[in-house]
């Protein structure tokens, strides 16, 4: 049964690793933001072989489970002499996996920019680079920011998977507490509540952002 005393005794331990969860999420999200944009642009390049390669890689990563990708990175990279910490691999795995989803989000944003904007940029003689950075991307990214925000929350909720490759975040800590005390209910309940406590306000924030953007 639920034991308040025990719950209170493990709470500090769980709170002490909450920053690992948050930092992992943020780093992986930024990686996914950058890589996702590169993938979206890569699929549009006029170099057809590159565009196909990017499309193939994107489909491959999106169609295989994140857990398998994490295991692959964790166990296969050292075989090739590449040694990263578990946390780094977690960030890479999570970031790369979700970059394929974000690339689709970027694509929808880019395609929503009207052809006339491209033509006006050509008429004013903007270079390709300036057309993207000054005209197209600012217009493409604004309407998709709520969707990007939603992915941030989704990724946050995926971080417990990293416990399987020995990243000591909240989930792994709860497992260790359970293994040592044979009491699982308190630790896992608290971890669940901590996730709720962080993701629900974030979701509300995203919804407000969405409302503000649709007003304009």
């Amino acid at each position: 049964m639920w034991n308040w005393e025990f719950a209170m005794s493990v709470l500090p331990k769980l709170l002490s690793v909450i920053h690992i969860t948050i930092i992992t999420t943020i780093l992986a999200f930024f990686l996914a933001l950058i890589l996702g944009l590169l993938l979206a642009l890569g699929r549009r390049t006029r170099l057809k072989p590159l565009a196909w390669a990017v499309a193939l890689a994107t489909e491959f990563i999106r169609s295989t489970p994140l857990l398998i990708q994490l295991y692959f990175l964790y166990f296969a990279l050292p075989v090739y002499g590449i040694h990263f910490s578990a946390l780094t691999i977690g960030v890479l795995g999570l970031g790369i996996h979700y970059s394929t989803y974000l690339s689709e989000v970027y694509r929808s944003g880019i395609e929503a920019v009207s052809k006339g904007q491209w033509e006006a940029a050509t008429a004013l003689n903007f270079s390709r680079w300036k057309t993207w950075t000054k005209i197209i991307l600012p217009q493409a990214i604004r309407p998709i920011t709520p969707v990007l925000g939603n992915y941030l929350i989704v990724m946050f909720k995926e971080t417990p998977l990293l416990s399987t490759i020995t990243v000591v975040e909240m989930m792994a800590t709860a497992k260790m507490i359970g293994a040592a005390s044979f009491r699982y209910v308190e630790a896992f309940t608290i971890v669940g509540l901590l996730f709720l406590l962080l993701s629900y306000p974030s979701a509300l924030l995203v919804r407000r952002l969405e409302a503000r953007i649709s007003l304009k």
């Binding site: 904007q117 033509e119 008429a123 003689n125």
Partner: protein
């Protein structure tokens, strides 16, 4: 400014006297099986105002879009200020030019679109300063001054901090004109600049274009359905139909004494529609 006017007897009016600012030579354009332009030859002298009229689908707009490098010609060449636009001559042979070449030549050309195409995420002022700063590398202060001067010219200086969505269609088009003027092109293309406007807003835009035409040494190619406007502004009117230039000449002649049956019937249809 009075430029030598073309008549039907002079097929290439400015040749030999002045380098034309634009020269279309045997230009054809097809989209798949559909031929839009069929062997067009047209010169525009520096400072000359040329209006292009003709039924929808006659290829008028494509003429402007080829010059702005928004479409690539299927065959033929275009010269801007004596230099090939789409091609380069390598060992006497014409080859497709690269983006760097297009970029250099394109700097001579400006365009005003039917649907304005203002940048909705930027203020009116920044719509006008973005290109001079990032394309011409102009200092911000100078770009700002020039943009304000052009906005004053189109009567919208007080809107410079507004966003495009806060403007009427006529105002948007006037901003688009200012934005193109800031780049000081040698030739400016107007692609049916009033076709997307409510009737009561057409006048203000035409007035601005007339004003610019009157004072400027900038050549203009005006694709338009406004016949009165064409006859007031243009030095020469070109009538296209079926992808060819059917007739061209001074406005008085084109509107007062049309020679070809197709132009006659086009003008009749146009007048009865009014």
């Amino acid at each position: 400014m009075n430029m030598p006017l073309a008549t039907k007897e002079e097929a290439t009016p400015a040749a030999g006297r002045l380098t034309p600012v634009v020269r279309y030579q045997n230009i054809s354009k097809s989209f798949g099986d559909l031929q839009i332009l069929d062997g067009i030859n047209l010169d525009i002298a520096p400072g000359e105002k040329v209006a292009v009229i003709g039924p929808s689908g006659s290829g008028k707009t494509t003429l402007a879009r080829l010059l702005m490098t928004l479409e690539e010609p299927t065959s033929g060449t275009i010269e801007v200020d004596g230099e090939l636009l789409w091609h380069k001559r390598v060992k006497g042979k014409l080859v497709r030019a690269n983006e760097k070449h297009l970029h250099r030549i394109r700097g001579n050309i400006g365009m005003v679109f039917q649907h304005f195409n203002l940048f909705p995420h930027l203020t009116i002022l920044r719509n006008c300063t973005e290109a001079p700063i990032h394309v011409l590398g102009m200092p911000k202060e100078e770009a700002r001054e020039r943009a304000v001067e052009m906005l004053r010219k189109v009567g919208l200086e007080d809107k410079k901090e507004a966003y495009p969505s806060q403007l009427s269609g006529g105002q948007k088009q006037r901003v688009a004109i200012a934005r193109a003027l800031v780049m000081r092109p040698k030739v400016m293309l107007f692609d049916e600049p009033t076709s997307a406007l409510d009737p009561e807003l057409v006048g203000e835009v035409l007035a601005v274009i007339k004003e610019i035409a009157r004072e400027g040494d900038m050549a203009m190619l005006l694709i338009t359905h406004e016949m009165e406007f064409a006859s007031e502004v243009a030095d020469r009117v070109v009538f296209t139909d079926g992808g060819k230039i059917v007739e061209q000449g001074p406005p008085d002649q084109i509107f007062g004494d049309p020679q070809s049956p197709r132009l006659q019937s086009f003008l009749t249809r146009f007048r009865t529609k009014r």
